[in-house]
């Protein structure tokens, strides 16, 4: 199915050329990833070595950085990781539930205000967060939600991330309309059609939503910084930043170790959901 363009060009001299392009592509890829690989290897080096070793193979291998880093400065990284996990998990659930409900209404149900509301939803996709941040802060402060996870999580249950509604609408529109009609003939109402027919078929879009929500929430620095000032509630990015502030630049080893750990879940989700991730970027252009 793929457009094999090289198939048109002759094949004999293509051989050497192919080897060369593989070589170039791998070489350039390694160059790009070198800093990250170096950070991983440096997290197993002695701090003094970090400033003298450009090699990717630590010798000797030191795990001391991980032990010292995990303790953090004051509050340990176990707390930060736990907090980040709670926030990310709730955000993922919220987005999957609320966005799929809204998407089903937009994609499959007929109602009077559909066009207007759909337009309003689309208009919010590109809205910069900063335009709403101040009133949102005032609202959440009045609800006494500052220094809780609610400001980070509750909006997800209200389908505020409209990219995902759009993603799922696009996906649901691709499902054959006969499905709904057949189910309706059999006496199923909109709830049953949503829950038993549409939702199971929307799993790829739900997976894309889950992965992106996880990545964004896990990486998010701005929102937690605004709402969380109690160090016991810090998420991993806040923890890393405060670790950097408190130790200055004296302990790069432990810092790298914790930075590497913080990237771990991202790689995990990336590897597990690669298929959904790339198809999701391709259909809606989400930025990772």
């Amino acid at each position: 199915m793929t457009t094999n363009v090289t198939g048109i060009v002759g094949s004999k001299r293509g051989h050497g050329r192919k080897a060369l392009s593989h070589f170039l592509i791998i070489g350039f890829g390694m160059l790009m990833l070198y800093p990250v690989l170096w950070m991983i290897s440096s997290s197993f080096k002695d701090t003094a070595q970090i400033f003298s070793e450009v090699s990717l193979l630590p010798s000797p291998v030191v795990t001391d950085n991980y032990e010292r880093g995990w303790e953090g400065a004051g509050i340990g990284f176990s707390t930060y990781f736990l907090n980040s996990t709670i926030v990310a998990a709730l955000a993922v659930i919220g987005n999957m539930v609320a966005c799929s409900l809204a998407a089903y209404a937009f994609a499959r149900l007929d109602f009077r205000l559909r066009r207007v509301l759909f337009g309003a939803m689309l208009a919010t996709i590109m809205l910069p967060y900063h335009v709403v941040i101040v009133p949102q802060y005032i609202l959440f402060a009045q609800l006494d939600w500052v220094n809780t996870f609610l400001p980070l999580v509750a909006p997800k249950f209200l389908a505020v991330d409209s990219f995902f509604i759009f993603l799922m609408v696009q996906f649901m529109r691709g499902l054959p309309a006969e499905l709904d009609q057949a189910a309706r003939v059999d006496g199923a109402g909109p709830w049953q059609i949503y829950w038993r027919i549409i939702l199971p078929l929307t799993i790829p879009a739900l997976a894309t939503t889950a992965i992106f929500t996880f990545i964004w929430t896990w990486n998010d620095f701005f929102t937690p910084m605004i709402y969380l000032s109690d160090p016991r509630l810090y998420t991993v990015p806040l923890g890393l930043n405060s670790f950097l502030d408190s130790t200055g630049e004296s302990s790069w080893g432990p810092m790298f170790a914790m930075a590497v750990l913080s990237l771990g879940p991202l790689f995990g989700f990336f590897l597990a959901g690669q298929k959904y991730l790339t198809s999701g970027i391709a259909t809606t252009g989400l930025k990772g």
Partner: protein, 334 residues
Amino acid sequence: MSLPQTSIDVSAPADARGRSESRPVRGALKAPRTGGTRSLRRRMMLDRAAPYLFLAPWLIGFFVITFGPMLVSLYLSFTDYSLLSPPEFIGFENYERMFTADPKYLESVRVTAIYVFVSVPLQLAFALLVALALNRGIKGLAIYRSIYYIPSLIGGSVAIAILWRQMFGQTGLINQVLALVGIEGQSWIGHPDTALGTLIVLNVWTFGSPMVIFLAALRQIPVYLYEAAAVDGVSAWGRLRHITLPMLTPIVLFNMILQLIGAMQAFTPAYVVSGGTGGPANSTLFYTLYLYQRGFTGLEMGYASAMAWALLLVIAAITGINFWLSKYWVHYDD
């Protein structure tokens, strides 16, 4: 995208079995017998309300968390408001101050403009070049695509910002590598002339996500175009110039708008690399970083709201200009 046909077959009978009150009769179009008129009416009302019930979370979110706050922040942008005392209406004063009495604001606009207009074109150029290189029927495309995507996955994180801070520091990785070839580097992050450059490099580095979009678009170009060109003896360069690139222009526009909007709102790397100051000498004072400083450190919520609205207007204007310009270079298929 192929639908998993089997799961349709499984879910439909399960649905019919699960319903007890009205036994489905295949092909019968009459109302369910056992229901009675009262429950039928209730059911119809529920069906009519259904769209709004499905939309309820989003509707609440839209009005309470998005649209309402938008209007409030528009109002606040015309006030002097410190959170501690009630907002005081001051007309256009905030906007005037931005452009006439706040050199730091103009500096943040300048820094952000350089960042956006240097890094986005470079990023898109890399994305396009690598996508074209990968789209030659090469083996292992999925693996290469993943490798090039990794920076986009992690590029916005605090972890990578910390890495950047070390890498481009006085004794960091870059200078170590330079020392190997006998060049003595400076602290790239500590110097006002180069600090912004390190952040531009970071954004260009994350060219993976537009690249993935380009790759998907390249697959959509019909093969017959290339076959016809091959029959006519068009060279590889000619095919690129007259088929691939014109067919890609809508996606170039799409990627460009997306990345421009994203870059204008960049925050984390500048904050972490400069320790929240935007230094040295305001050289990494991104727009959003200055907005944060004014609003959440200085508690000037009215001024911060005005800055946010100015940002929204600029984003809208740049997007509009792009669409307007697109008629001169974007190729549409009909």
